[in-house]
């Protein structure tokens, strides 16, 4: 049959790869013959060929002695894919299309295997294929493809290089655990692969960051789906541990990624994973030393850095974008009413929170509003004087104050949580939100006796981030200490603290 003939040809390729080095010209001759003899000279044929080669390789893996070389065919297939991508005379669009085609074929074979073989599906050969693709590409691309002798081809491949990772990341996104749970552990290993993750993190002009944020959100969405009160399956716990280690690696190597993408990442962290959220929010720029929260205070001098935000949160303001922009320019009570009324969901959302199970408010929208305020504060400080911004009469403050006073407990909680998310390393956002939260804690103009509720929610939002294992975001600790200093012994006499012995003990100790 045609498939069997493809098997034979592919087996010859596998044998060849065991006999010669990758840069031996005989490899190019072999591939040229594949085209000349009409084996893969048309789109339909390359599809059938790759499909056959992959199926053969997966079977070969399953039948091989597990203590021996099980990946010989898979590695050879990876070599073939990389060679086909590189040696053909493509312009950049053609190369992108071809790579997309090859990975699409792999994906179809994979999806069919995952779907039909629930008990016998094994993720390892597919993992190995993608891992080997990454390592083969890595060898090729070194020093701007210096091993490629033709300068025009070298230039073309260098231009294509970021798209290689972009397309790879796109396919990884489609393999996410929610879609293919049988590939979950392999997927996480691929996202954190040493030939993928550091490359994306350090990509030129940060081109890969968009896709990486998407992948990390895929991971957290999967965790959120299955972390339930009272019951977390073992496999989910293990996935969580892996996620933790990956985030720690990113925080160490490229903390700027977590700093600039905190908005998108934090709103997708499962609400009960406080330590993970803290890890993201504790990221400090590489050049900065970790300050001591028990010694240092938040001042204009030490908080002059204006943090960059990779994704503009105003894109998520939906129908409230215009009212908010207008309000920040010229505050008005009618605009505030529109904004306060526009933050509710049309349908209930189930969320596994600490103390709550559902959301009536659009939490994402609230996070977008607060982060937009943070960004605008940063911009204003860079242009004008700080006094206009650090002012109870500033529209930034009155907007958030207005949302809180108009809103119920649920609104207050999510707005304050979003504000506390801005308390990070010493920077302008940190400074402003420390200022705003302290003022709100002490304000006497809260309507209808709302002060105790606001105070309790602020303390809850800060305390929940401090009672957990480290790390603790620097300014969360500073702000909490500031509130203790401001209130003094009045703090432990507050009814919402005396009513709860455990909390009373903690505050009293501090």
């Amino acid at each position: 049959t045609k498939t069997e003939r493809y098997y034979l040809v592919f087996t010859e390729w596998v044998k060849l790869q065991q006999r010669v080095k990758p840069d031996n010209p005989v490899n190019i001759v072999f591939i040229r013959q594949l085209f000349e003899k009409g084996v893969i000279d048309k789109k339909e044929k390359i599809i059938e060929f790759i499909k056959a080669a992959l199926e053969l390789s997966v079977n070969s893996f399953k039948q091989s002695d597990p203590t021996g070389e099980v990946f010989t065919s898979i590695d050879a297939l990876s070599r073939l894919i990389t060679s086909l991508l590189v040696i053909q005379e493509f312009d950049i669009e053609e190369r992108k299309e071809y790579f997309n085609l090859l990975l699409s074929v792999v994906t179809l074979v994979f999806a069919k295997d995952h779907q039909t073989n629930v008990t016998s599906f094994n993720e390892r050969p597919y993992f190995r294929l993608y891992s080997s693709l990454l390592t083969d590409w890595d060898k090729l691309r070194d020093h701007h493809f210096i091993r490629v002798s033709d300068s025009a081809v070298r230039k073309s491949l260098t231009e294509f290089d970021p798209y290689f990772f972009d397309i790879f990341a796109s396919f990884l996104h489609s393999y996410q655990p929610i879609a293919f749970p049988g590939f979950s552990f392999a997927w996480i290993t691929l996202v954190s692969h040493r030939m993928f993750l550091p490359k994306i993190l350090r990509s030129k002009e940060l081109r890969g960051w968009d896709k990486l944020v998407l992948l990390l959100i895929d991971l957290m969405k999967f965790l959120s789906q299955y972390i339930k009160k009272g019951n977390v399956p073992d496999s989910i716990s293990v996935i969580y541990k892996g996620a933790l280690r990956i985030f720690l690696g990113i925080a160490n190597d490229v903390p700027e990624f977590l700093i600039q993408n905190h908005y998108k990442l934090v709103k997708n962290v499962p609400p009960t994973c406080i330590q993970l959220r803290n890890i993201i929010l504790s990221a400090i720029p590489k050049k900065m030393l970790v300050p001591d929260p028990f010694v240092l205070q938040i001042t204009e001098e030490n908080c002059s850095d204006i943090p960059e935000v990779f994704y503009d949160p105003s894109q998520d303001l939906k129908s409230l974008k215009k009212p908010i922009i207008n309000y920040l320019r010229i505050p008005s009570s009618s605009l505030l009413r529109t904004i306060s009324g526009g933050i509710f969901r049309t349908e209930l959302e189930y969320e596994n929170g600490i103390g709550y199970d559902e959301n009536n408010v659009d939490v994402n929208l609230i996070h977008a509003i607060v982060t937009h305020v943070a960004v605008e504060v940063g911009l204003e400080v860079s242009k004008a004087s700080k006094n206009a911004v650090f002012n109870v009469k500033s529209s930034y403050y009155t907007l958030l104050f207005g949302l809180l006073s108009d809103g119920n407990d649920e609104v207050k909680f999510h707005v304050i949580q979003a504000m506390v998310n801005q308390l990070r390393y010493p920077n302008v956002h940190t400074h402003w939100f420390n200022f705003a939260l302290k003022l709100m804690f002490l304000a006497e103009d809260w309507p209808d006796d709302q002060l105790p509720i606001v105070q309790e929610i602020i303390l809850r939002s800060l305390l929940e981030r401090i009672i957990v294992n480290k790390p603790h975001p620097w300014s969360v600790v500073v702000t909490f200490m500031d509130l203790l200093k401001l209130e003094g012994t009045d703090m432990i006499d507050k009814p919402f603290i005396t009513d709860i012995p455990e909390i009373h003990a903690i505050i009293e100790n501090l």
Partner: protein, 181 residues
Amino acid sequence: YGLKDLVPVLRHEPTYDSNMTLGIDLNSLLNSLDITKDTKSHHCLDAFESPWVETSRSEVQPTFYIPESFRNIKGMLGTAQVEFTSVNRDQPRISLLQDETLFYLFYKHPGSVIQELTYLELRKRNWRYHKTLKVWLTKDPMMEPVVARDSMSERGSYVFFDPQRWEKCQRDFVLHYNAIM
């Protein structure tokens, strides 16, 4: 949304998985990534073996690059690509080489003519290749082996060439005849 709802967390009640909510001491995870206060410039993701410590038991090859100018330095020992392409030319040389050199060539050039030539020469010198152990051995001249009743094996004293330690060593051993070639 208040402080009361932190109580189940503080009490480690089973409502919330405390490993995820209260978290864990991260020091062991950080150590596994070689991240300490003193290694700020260390990039742990470049040699990241796996997201889990349990599956990171062996190191992986990180990105590295050897420039071509470092590969083919003329006159440098061991850098020239040695090619044994002529049986006529190479065969007479083989018999002049020491045992250790023959072992070196045997292991260094698998699937090649030189491996076959060295194999033949070592056999001439009464060495035999053990297919399972993948090592060469020869009889200890001081001791005569005892053949088993079924004539399929013998027990005796042999000299093995250990390619890991690169030395000859003497051992008592049960030698199955179908295991050697």
